[in-house]
Amino acid sequence: MQPAALEGKPVAEALIASEADIRSGLADNLVRLWRYGLVLSHRRDIADDLVQQTCLRALERVEQFEAGTRLDRWLFSILHSIWLNEIRSQRVRLGQGFVDANEALVVDGAHDTETHVMANQVLRLVNALPDAQRAAVFLAYVEGLSYREVASILDIPIGTVMSRLAAARAKIAANVSGEGAT
């Protein structure tokens, strides 16, 4: 089973070249992947595991990467799937709780600036969202992905992306405004 794009090239050579590309793409995206892992799990150690497993999985499945598509999107979807199908379910099964979201994503406060305080408040608002909404908000508004790309990474229909983002916006707006809309 060979990807169509590789037609006419010696398969071994194509795969080697492709793996080098993926390796270099991984190196460029490690920090962003780690941040997504942190947003999903609220745990630095799990973010670390998620990145490592994403690297392994991507290198194992080089041939599944469609040439000409965005590598970072592909890596995000691998990380998300590992989180959802493996790590998260395992943690739930083992009954290990998650740390308080308010603690996990907040940046060190030793040298507080007002910007810093505000950033932490935005993080808190996002952290307060349910998991599914939080992932959609992160991908759409922090990573700047289109609805279509978010849908592909989360493996859900575009309509579901829209409703998660709409629900998240309503909730954040309500929290920003204090009690309800004015």
Binding site: V31, E60, H111, M118, V122
Partner: protein
Amino acid sequence: MNDKNPILSDEELTAYIDGELSDAEVSRIEALLHSNERVGARLKFLSRSSLQFKQAFEPLLTAAPKTELDAMLGIVPGDAKPAPSRPSRRGFLSAIAACLVAGVVADQAFIGIRNRLHAPDENSEWRTVVAEYITLYTADTLAGPSPSDDAQAAQLALLDDKLGLSLSPQTVSLPGIEFKRAQLLQYDDKPLAQIAYLDPETGPLALCIVRSAVGTKEPDVEGRHGLNVVYWSNPTHAFMLIGRIPIDRMQELAEDVRKKTLA
């Protein structure tokens, strides 16, 4: 989905804000925005959630243990069956700690962006900006012990210096409400003094001061973003006290501060 506004769903308005609609859909929504007040109000409400997400999450990139991650990729075997091995946890944690201490990218745009959307009434706009800030404060924002009198005086001295004030821990003290910090912010390229307090019952409140040439104005009250505001000015400065304390109590507190800052 949204029973408050049957004409346009929150999904449609969200997609509109996010620029995800076709030209035809955009035209339809914009026509409705002109003709239907509730649509506009709902759009305005949902737009409050347009925060600086990118900037807020930027520091988490700095916080990532980049060196360790790079090393990890280096040890991932390229062949078929890699044995997962990981860097030592201890090394990881110290790397994370180092990255965290390295701090945060300060982003002036973060403050600037919040000035939009509001009427360009110079005298009240600064209060809008402050109110937007304070709505985001929680008791957590101001967690931790209150500074000593000496520390308070030192923080206030910085404000005095930049704004030509003469504040002391006594002049800015509020009865029964803890002083948490005094800091110098910036609004519209001008210094803004913010003294933050924590009321055990209603949460954060703040006394904010800017230079002002508007002249003396008696205290007045207003509500902004669900917060109570008492504001006034003397010949050199404009003041506002903002929080969730009931308005008559806020007025008493403000009057107390006003007298002390006159002296």
